[in-house]
Every structure is written in structure tokens, then in C-alpha cells.
Amino acid sequence: MTHDIHLHHITRVEGHGNIVLNVRKGRIEELRLEIVESPRFFEVMLKGRRFDEAPHITSRICGICAISHTTASIKACEMALGIMPSTETVLLRKILVNAEILQSHILHIYLLVAPNFFGVGSIIPMAGSHPEVVKRALRLKKAANEVCRILVGRHVHPVGISIGGFTRVPSKNDLGEVMRTLEAVVPDMEETVALFKDLEMPKFDRPTRYVSLHEDGEYALYGGMLYSTDGPPVYPIDYKEFITEEVIEYSTAKHARSGGESIMVGALARVNNNYDVLRSEAKWAAKELGLRVRCVNPFMNNLAQVVESVHAIHDSLNLLDDIAGRDLRCGKEDGMKVSAGRGVGVVEAPRGTLYHDYEIDENGTITAVNCIIPTAQNLANIEEDIRALVPEILDLPRKEIEQRLEVLVRAYDPCISCSTHFLEVKFVG
């Protein structure tokens, strides 16, 4: 069987990417996941600028994970300058990180993944055929965006979230509104579990190295140790011993590996690594969806996102209960003391572990920057998956092979703008 596949600009993913696959007599001769998004050079742009501009500038790396970038950037600056945010500040940031996970996962599972199962090319025809599904998706997405709007003005490029605290401290009324917003969509989330329970994910197993943050007693999203399924935990500051990046000639996004192996990051990796500390409601969802850890089917990342969405809502409600009894000491202090230092801010973005590493000099000028983006960490693994999957599906008609590969890539929810930007599939002759 000979296939020349070139899927150009894979759709319903964030950014521009291609799959090039060349199969001769049942053997893969050529396989590339090409990232063709234009490089943006954020690491270069930040050099020479004042540290407090970094969160605003790096938010613009990605519209979908703007809060994750802002948070990682803030954490890197705080570590470099020796600033300890208040407990209340951290609680609010955790609610925001949850909100971004919810918003991003809902966008992915409903708007990008679900159309496939309904046999259509986008959510638009579903508005006519399955209006209740579309409306529910929009209600959930809106709830996540509302949480961000109330606390930090908006989700895409948040304002008021800052090094040391918040420039605008939310009121008790604001927090009440956040709580009511999230409580209102609990039934919608349950319906979501019921919907996805009935959608069958393709069968495909390939064990790999799952990487995420890990913390005792808490489902680690805002912080924790770097954790891999095969190896001891590592402190974030030592991430360079844990993860390495290499330049790939056909990809403007680098490929990251851990211990020389390709890795998977994101919802499935986190659920695999941290299942025990998921909220009980999320564990119920996992059970309903048939997601049992350790799950080695990358297509199940879609369902892991459903599980995490359940967790994000209930965890935030819990955090809000915690905040309710406290004075909101989360205002940003004036007159930060600037000193030279290095800081590494690590956070779980919706698509996986995100690293920001800055060196700052005694004047507050950034002198060195390194960012490692979740999608860059998944790229090598996606290629390995395609390599393993293609022989299993080679007898299918070419159109179906293309579609299956696109579904596989999409299951990783790649964010190509972030990793520079993403996807097209080329079948070559």
C-alpha cells in the first residue's frame, strides 16, 4: 500500500500545522508533523525590558492560555525578586487557572472535537441539529469566561493580575457572583459527562512517559514538583535537568523530551499522574467515562479534559468557600524592591506544563529568557503516535487515514500559536 499524504493546515486546532506522511509498500518512509506557524521571538523581545512588563507581553503568546502565561510569568518574576504573594492571592490565582482550564477544555471538546462525532465540519450545523448541545457548550464556556471577567476584566489578556498581587482587589460581591456563576453550570457539566460517555473514542494504545506537576494532597495546576511516570520528582528551578528542547528543521516549534524520551503533557498526563487527588466529582466522571488510570490511549485525552472540567468547577467552589472566611489581602504592594536574580515559574496550562525562566539584573532589566510551551513537549510524542498508528490503519481508505490522523493530532489539543503557532496533513506521493 502506497500513500502520499499531505494534510495541509489541519483544521479546528489553534495555529498552523501540516502532517506529511509517505508510505511505500506498507513502510513509513517519511513522517513529519510540520509546524509552519511563524516564529514570534518572544524570548528575544523580552530581553532588555523591565521585568514588570513580562506578564503583559507574554500573555500575548497565546489567546487561549493567556492566564497560564501571565501566571507563569508572574511566578518567575516573584521567584527572581524574592516576593511571596499572600495566601489569598494564591487562592484567587488558582481559581483563575481553573477557569482557564475549563474555558479551554470546553472550547476543545465541544467546538473542536464534538463536530467529528456528529459527522459535521464545525459546530455551526449542530446549532440546527443539536441546539441543546450547542447551548450547553456556550453556557459552560461563558461561565468560565465570566469568572475571568469578574476577577481580571477578561480572559483573553487579563488585566489587574500582577506581580505581588492584584491591582484591583475583588469585592465580596464579586466572589459571590463567581460562586453563583459556577454553581449554575454544575448540571450542565453533569450533562456533558453523559454526552461524552456515549461518544466512542478510537482504540489505540501506546504507553509513553506522562509528565505533569505533582503535589501531595492537591491536584497540581498552580504549582508543585516536576513529575514524570519514570523518575524522581524535580524542583522547577532544576527543570533543565528534567526536560530538554531540540530544534527540528521542519518545525518552527522546538521538540521537548524528558530523559531522552518523548513525553505527553496535558489533561491525560495529569489525570494519570494525579488521579488520587482529583475532586470526588471528577473521579465519578472518570468512572462514568471509562477512563481508568494509567490510560495509554492518547485519544482519551479528550475525555480526560471532561474529567478536569468537572474538577475545575468543583475545586473552584471549594477555593471560594476557603476565601469566604478571609480578609482579601491580595492587593499589590507599592514599591517592589528590585534585586538581581533568576526565577522559574511553572504552571499547568490547559495543554500541559508551561515553563517561564527569567534572569533579571539589579536594575530590574530582563537579561535572559527561556519559555517551554506545552505543545512543544507533545510534538515528538504525536509523531511517535502517528508512527505506531499508521500500520494499524493502513488498510483504510486514504480519506479515513487522513481523518484519523487529524483526529489524533486534534486530541492533543495542540496550540500552535503558543508553540510558535499549528496544523496541516500532507500525504506525499
Binding site: 486546532v13 467546538l111 500582577s162
Partner: protein, 251 residues
């Protein structure tokens, strides 16, 4: 009319496209009023029969120029969609870094992806009919804009500064508090969201028609900021708008 719309993306974070999907309450009505025929982030279909093209992002590669020209030739109306398209956005910071650093600092070698070029605004490559400013675009402004097109009314942007909206929201002036803010020379339409959350206005919506930059410069100098610092703040979004860089603020 039910116009056919294409949404296209060049170098950007794709956050402005996301703002369209973030219109949760209006999205279902919107898709009744307009027909999306090409919107890669949302749909698999790739129609070429669009009448209105919303173009997000800046041009940062030679090959993107040809792609943009093709879109321009097909679209009756082309809208520069968001700050990257409109004024270059945060991407412009790349232009002030030494060119030989771009590739070596990012990839450690200069032979790969060397088709990267200094950032251009959409208007530097093709004619632009309308602009929707902001980083990101304002969702409500986008809706009003689409409504105007559907009703065949000439869309208009506010020509007054962010300061007007900021005052009407009852905010205390950040500049009076000794902080920097570009709201007095930046086009309104965002409802002063940043100063309302006590964050600086970074000028993401571009300048007003007749900005009094000299006056803002003098005030900020009086508040103790250096010329270099002020120019650097202007450069965050407006580096290509002819107001930062040596000499440009002298007169």
C-alpha cells in the same frame, strides 16, 4: 444581506478570533446574520467565496505577503482585525531587537526559518478598508461593526481618547497617582478596561486622530519618568506608528 465572512490569521496569538467564539450569548444569532465560510480555528470547511475578510495578525514572513494579497483580491471588504493587524501589536517589539539575534537566540542557528522579516502591519502590504483595534478586539465593538455591515451603514470607531471612558467610569486617574498611562492619546472603545482594573493603558488600540503626545510626554517627564522609559512604553504597541524612536517626539 447575509454576508459571507472569512476569518484569517497571520502572526498573532489568535486571541482576537477567540473573542468571536467568546460571544457566547450572541454566537447563535450571529451565525444567522452572517455566513462563516472560512474560519480555520472553528471549522473544517475552507471556502474561498468570502466577501468580507477579517485578517488577524501581523506579517512577519515573506510568504505571508502573497497569502495576504490573495485574500485581498478575493475579499470585497478587508478588515484589519486586532492590534497585530492594525498597528503590528506586541510583535513590533521584535523590530527593535537586532536582526541577527532573532534566529540565533531562539534556535541557536541562523540557517533555519530565515524567511522571517521585520514585522509589518496589514496596511503596509495591502489596502485596508476598516480597522477593529485592540489587544484583543472588543467583542461588543465587533458585534456593532458586523451589524453595521449587515445593515449597510458605515461603521465608525470612537475618535476620542480612552480618558473619556475612564472618567465616565469614575476612575481615579493613574497619571495623577504618579503612574504611567497612555489613555489620553489612545483611541477609546474598550470602556477603559485596563485603568478600571488599575492597570496601565498600553495604547493597544492605537492613537486617536490627533493625539497630543507632546503634552503626555511632558506630564510623564514631570512625574519622574525618563524619555527612554516613556518611549519604551509607547513602543509596546505603537512602535510602528511613528511616535517612538529618536527625534520623533522632539517637535
Amino acid at each position: 444581506m447575509r454576508p459571507k465572512i472569512g476569518v484569517f490569521s497571520f502572526t498573532s496569538c489568535e486571541g482576537c478570533q477567540l473573542q468571536v467564539l467568546n460571544l457566547e450569548d450572541e454566537l447563535l444569532h450571529l451565525i444567522e446574520q452572517v455566513e462563516f465560510v472560512n474560519f480555520r480555528e472553528m471549522m473544517s470547511e475552507k471556502g474561498e467565496n468570502y466577501e468580507i475578510a477579517f485578517v488577524e495578525g501581523s506579517i512577519t514572513r515573506e510568504s505571508e505577503e502573497g497569502d495576504l494579497e490573495r485574500i485581498r483580491n478575493k475579499a470585497g471588504i478587508l478588515v484589519a482585525f486586532g492590534a497585530c493587524a492594525h498597528i503590528g501589536g506586541i510583535n513590533v517589539l521584535k523590530n527593535v531587537c537586532p536582526k541577527d539575534m532573532w534566529l540565533t537566540a531562539t534556535y541557536g542557528r541562523r540557517d533555519l526559518f530565515s524567511d522571517t522579516i521585520p514585522v509589518k502591519r496589514i496596511k503596509d502590504v495591502v489596502d485596508v478598508d476598516y480597522v477593529l483595534p485592540g489587544c484583543p478586539i472588543d467583542k461588543e465593538e465587533f458585534l456593532r461593526f458586523v451589524q453595521a455591515l449587515v445593515l449597510e451603514i458605515e461603521p465608525r470607531l470612537p475618535d476620542y481618547p480612552v480618558c473619556v471612558e475612564c472618567r465616565s467610569r469614575g476612575n481615579i486617574c493613574l497619571v495623577e497617582q504618579g503612574r504611567w498611562c497612555l489613555g489620553s492619546v489612545t483611541r477609546a472603545g474598550c470602556d477603559a478596561i485596563c485603568p478600571t482594573y488599575r492597570d496601565n493603558c498600553t495604547g493597544c488600540r492605537g492613537l486617536t486622530e490627533d493625539p497630543n503626545i507632546k503634552s503626555l510626554f511632558n506630564i510623564l517627564l514631570e512625574k519622574g519618568f525618563t524619555r527612554e522609559q516613556i518611549e519604551s512604553k509607547f513602543g509596546l504597541f505603537n512602535g510602528l506608528e511613528g511616535i517612538s524612536g529618536p527625534g520623533s517626539t522632539e517637535d
